[in-house]
Each structure stands twice: as C-alpha cells, then as structure tokens.
C-alpha cells in the first residue's frame, strides 16, 4: 500500500492533486475484459453475458487498485462506489427497455379496427379474429362506478380528517388509511367475494351467488379509497391557513369556507390524486377475476351477469392455448398500458401546474 504524500494532517493532496491517467484506466479495462473473455471462451464456462459481467467486476477491482496507487485509498473507494451506483442504474434500465419494446412490437400486431369492434363471442381456437370491445366496456364501467363510490367518500373523509379531526381517533384513522394502501388487491377481491357475492347477492338472485361488474367495482373501491383519502388529505393541508382565517374573519361559516374556499383551492391536486388512483384501479386483475367472473360477450349491464375487464382479458388470453391468443393478449396489454399511462401523465401534468407546492 503506497500512502499518498501527506503535507499536513487532515489535508490529503491526493484528492485534489494527482489524477489517475486515463490511459491506465483504459489499460485496466482492456486487461479485465480480455482476461474475462479468455476464461469464459477458453474453458467454455459461459457466454458473452458472463464475459461482460465478469469483465465489469474485474475492471472495478482493477481500477480500485490503480486509483489506489495513484490517488490514494479514499479516492479509490469513492470512485468504485460511484461506478457501482452508476451500473445499478444501467442494470435497471435493461428490463424496462425490454418491457416497452416487447409491448410495442408485439402489441401492434393486432392493433386493428377489428380488435376494437368485436368481442370474443363465438371466437374459437382457430379464429385469428376476436377483439376486446367487451373488455374495454367492462373496464370503463367498473372503474367509473368505483370512482363514483369512492370520490365523494374519500374526499369527505379527508375533509373530516383535516378540518374537523382532533386527537387520537384521527391519528388512528390516518394510520389505518396508510396501512390499507398496502392491502393486496386479491384480499380486497376475496372480501367482496365473501361479503357481496356469497352473502348479499343470493337474497335477490334465487339463492344463487351472482357475479357482476358491480361487484368488481366494489372491490376496486376498497383499493381506491385509501389512496384518494391520503392524496386529498395532503392537498387540503397545503391550503394556506390565512385563506381560511380570512374567510372566518368575514363571518363565513365553517362549512361554507370548506366548500367555497378550501376545496376550490386544492382542487387541481385533489383531481391529480383521483386520476392516479383510477389509473391504478384500471390495471387491477385479481379482484375482477374473483368477483366479475369473466365473459366472452359484450355485457353492458354491470349489475347483472358476468363481466370482464381489459386486465382480466390479458390474463385469460395469456393462458389460452390458441396460437392467436398471445397477439390478442399483447394488444390488450398495450391498450391497457396506454390507458393507464395517459391517465398518469395527465395527472402529473396537472400536478405540475398546481400552484400549491410542498
């Protein structure tokens, strides 16, 4: 170990002074990848992926010692960790790129008018056609009903927590709202199955459990509620207190202050939160699978008979043995992702224009 020349205690000229020559680092890289390639191809131990991985590791070790030699141990640690952090970033990009590329290349295969104008009714294993119009209708209806249930409830709950809530009880509610955001979607589906489909619906369905799009909407509501409460609550907290105090000073009652001053001010943020939770609900598969039952034909009525949704359609086509099914699955996946991303991006843009900042 060659320690860098010390001029004064606490000052390390190695950090600001000498730099490792670029040529040395290039040399280390060449040697590292050369050795790695020689080992892999020489022994038949692996393929080019292993060459890259092993080369990278050898390079990191080699460059550590090279920098250690020229600049000292602290600089070597610094640069090696920096390189590791950079490679983590690159590593994470690979699957992302792969997902997007597959989605686009395979998803556009069946991206035609037929896909958006037919259902899977009377489509056999040998038919190349078939579309997802029934699934699109299902997704839109279920998400719309779920939003109609949760938006008023969620916003009111948030108003209560922020404007009226005091003490331990409110703290407990906030805590459990947070915990509820982590409930697995399949458990929400099971809950609606146990409560609505198996216990409530037999009363008005001649004793038979009834699957329906409405049940799926209920399950999605259970998932959406906590996220809407949380985001609305945060936005309401950002409304400046002087606005409220100004209204009170003018003699405006509390409820009117909330309706006419607080909520309009926070509205863009509230809508952003609602759109994000809708986007998340639209992509949920498990609850729809459990309580809507799935269907091949168009069913416009969400209160009666089975329905399907885009995500459930993807899941079912993915498990279908027909050789035309994968193309349908990918196109439906592309449609679903497009729907979700449009909602998400719109929500983020809206949030960017929001004047209330954290």
């Amino acid at each position: 170990m060659t320690a860098p020349a010390q001029t004064a205690p606490g000052r390390d000229p190695g950090l600001r002074g000498r730099r490792t020559p670029l040529l040395v680092l290039v040399g280390v890289a060449v040697v590292a990848f050369g050795v790695s390639a020689a080992i892999c191809y020489g022994t038949g131990f692996g393929n080019w992926v292993l060459v890259l991985v092993m080369g990278l590791i050898l390079y990191l070790v080699g460059s550590f010692f090279a920098i250690n030699r020229y600049e000292g141990r602290r600089a070597a640690r610094d640069r090696t960790w920096g390189a590791l952090i950079h490679s983590a970033f690159v590593l994470a990009l690979l699957p992302l790129v792969s997902v997007v590329w597959t989605l686009i290349s395979k998803g556009t295969e069946r991206l035609d008018l037929n896909f958006f104008s037919t259902s899977m009714n009377n489509i056999g294993a040998r038919d190349p056609d078939g579309g997802a119009v029934h699934a699109i209708i299902g997704t839109l209806e279920q998400v719309a009903i779920a939003a109609a249930i949760t938006v008023p409830l969620g916003v009111l709950a948030a108003v209560y927590i922020v404007e009226y809530g005091r003490g331990r009880f409110t703290l407990a509610i906030r805590f459990f709202v947070d915990v509820m955001t982590g409930i697995p979607s399949i458990v929400a589906g099971l809950f609606v199955l146990a409560f609505w489909v198996l216990i409530v619906t037999p009363w008005f369905n001649n004793g038979q459990p009834a699957f329906s799009g409405f049940a799926a909407a209920l399950a999605l509501s259970v998932l959406m509620l906590p996220t809407i409460v949380r985001s609305t609550e945060e936005m309401l907290r950002l409304v400046p207190a002087p606005l409220r105090e100004g209204a009170y000073a003018l003699g405006v009652p509390k409820w009117k202050t909330i309706v006419r001053v607080v909520i309009p001010t926070a509205l863009p943020g509230i809508i952003t939160g609602i759109m994000l939770s809708i986007a998340r609900a639209a992509g949920e598969t498990a609850p729809v699978l459990l309580v809507a039952g799935g269907s091949d034909a168009v069913n416009i009525n969400p209160f009666e008979n089975n329905q399907t949704s885009l995500s459930l359609f993807v899941f079912q086509q993915a498990g279908d043995a027909s050789r035309f099914a994968p193309a349908r699955a990918w196109t439906a996946a592309l449609t679903l992702v497009a729907l979700v991303l449009i909602l998400t991006i719109a929500a983020k843009l809206l949030a960017g224009r929001n004047r209330l900042r954290r």
Partner: protein
C-alpha cells in the same frame, strides 16, 4: 369508516373460511397438498406460504441493492435533467399493471432466465439451491425476478425521497471537512435515511407478498417445500387463489378464502410495522405508492 372496512374484511373472510377449515381433513398450517375438492378435503398452506416467502425474499435480495443504487444515483449523482426525467419514468413504471409484467415474464423474460438456470445448474448444481435436473424456467427464480422488477420502482421512489430530504447542511458539513462524495453519502445521507429506507423496503415486501397475477403467470404450480429455486415449480398463496378459483367448489372457495385470510394477516403486520417506523421518525410524509 376505514376501521370498519378492515374489521369487515376480517369478519367476512373468517365467516366464509370457517366451514371449509372444519371440513379440512389435514392440518391447515402444516399440510403441503391442496386438494380441497376431493372427499375428504385435504389442504394446507405450508407449501403456498413457503412459495410466497421464497419469491419475496428473492425479489428483495435482487431489488434492494439495485433500488438503493438508483435512488442514490438520482438524488446525488445524476445531473438535474436526467434525475427529473428518470424520476418521472420510475413513477410511470410503478403504474404499469402487474398483468403486463406477468405476460412479459412468461413470454420474454423466461428465455434468459432459463438459459441462466441451465448454466447455474451445470456449474453450481452441487449447491442445493441450483440442483435438480430440469425442466427449468417457470421457477421460483423467474417469479422472484419478475417481482424484483415490480417492487424496484416502489423502493426506488420512496428511498429517493428520503435521500433527497437529507439536510443540505449535513451534506455540506461533510464535504467541507474534506469528505469525498462517497464518504459524504456514507456519513451523512445513509444514516439519516436508514429508517426511511427500512420502511420503503418493508412496503416493497408488502407488495411482493400480495402480488397475484404476475406470479400466477410465471410460477410452475407444484405444491412442495423445496430449496431448489431454478427447477419448474413453486406456488404462492395469492397465485393459488387466482388459478384455483375457477375450479373451486363450495369448500374449495372457503379454503382459498382461508388462505387469503392468512395472506391478509401477514401483509397487515408488515405494513403496520413499516408505517409505525415512518410515523415514529417522520422522515418523510410522501403518500405511499
């Protein structure tokens, strides 16, 4: 109201699960097989719980170091433009539905994982983890890696927020004492962010434990307790519910609901622990993904 929902979930799940549990001919907690529709019905969650645990552990082992690396990169290394762009991309990635990752996992990702498994088996087969003689592909490893990709954005987004909220004064103090960038991160950023990072990892764990559809598409559906992670097989509580629901009868349904109750209890505990850490330290008030 929210409390009512949580209590109602528990109550109704219990109500539906009890008849099935009473009909169960085996010990629900230790039995590995899942035959609720035969007479007498025999089923237990031991193998399912094992699969849930193994896939989640694989996911976290892979995802946590990478996610922390990305979070540090975005908060302390990347130029501002790249940081905002990729922060946005990571948020979008968190919004992609799980069924899409599942579809990608079992059509595209399975190929590299299979060849990697074959390679591991050839040279490291003497380790029980990588033993067996195939077929490979739809294994704990595939499921776990797909899960890793799915929890990555969550852990990254949350820990990035934590790292970013390190007081600038602390960072500048470290730098002014002559620390290198890495020393600054180690002495100022990481200790400050530790509770937040632990909480974000636990939230990621909660997501991994409850993930259904991606695992329903990538696991091989063999109920067994094995340490082999590359051979076809594996099942998890949530995936078993999704795949077994179609052919379940009265008792089968109750059995699935009972397993869901166990899953609910586990995720509730994990989430409460994570939230408790966050509440105690109040490191960040970001709403969770």
């Amino acid at each position: 109201m929210v409390l009512v929902i949580i209590v109602a979930i528990t109550a109704f799940l219990v109500a539906e699960a009890v008849p099935a549990l009473q009909a169960d001919d085996a010990n629900f907690l230790t039995e590995t097989e899942w035959f609720p529709n035969q007479t007498p019905p025999e089923f237990g969650i031991a193998a399912l719980a094992w699969g849930t645990l193994v896939t989640s552990v694989i996911a976290l082992v892979v995802a946590v170091p990478v996610a922390l690396g990305i979070a540090l990169y975005l908060s302390h290394y990347a130029p501002r433009r790249i940081a905002t762009t990729f922060g946005f991309v990571i948020d979008l990635l968190a919004a992609v539905p799980s069924v899409v990752f599942g579809l990608w996992g079992f059509t595209v990702f399975i190929e590299p994982v299979r060849s990697f498994s074959v390679w591991l088996n050839k040279y490291f087969g003497w380790i029980p983890l990588f033993g067996g003689d195939g077929p490979f592909g739809r294994s704990f490893m595939l499921g776990g890696l797909v899960l890793a990709i799915m929890v990555l954005p969550i852990i990254t987004a949350l820990s990035r927020e934590v790292f970013r909220q390190t007081p600038t004064a602390n960072e500048e103090a470290a730098l002014s004492l002559g620390a290198t960038r890495w020393e600054m991160i180690r002495t100022a950023v990481l200790p400050y962010g530790r509770p937040g990072v632990i909480a974000s990892v636990m939230l990621g764990l909660g997501r991994a434990l409850g993930e259904t559809i991606a695992l329903a598409l990538t696991l091989g559906f063999i109920n067994e307790i094995t340490v082999n992670i590359i051979q076809n097989g594996g099942n998890s509580i949530a995936a078993n519910i999704a795949n077994g629901f179609g052919e379940a009868g009265e008792i089968g349904r109750g059995a699935l609901i009972a397993s869901g109750l166990v899953l609910f209890a586990i995720t509730l505990v994990v989430n409460m622990a994570a939230r408790a850490i966050i509440y105690r330290r109040r490191e960040f008030t970001e709403s969770a993904a």
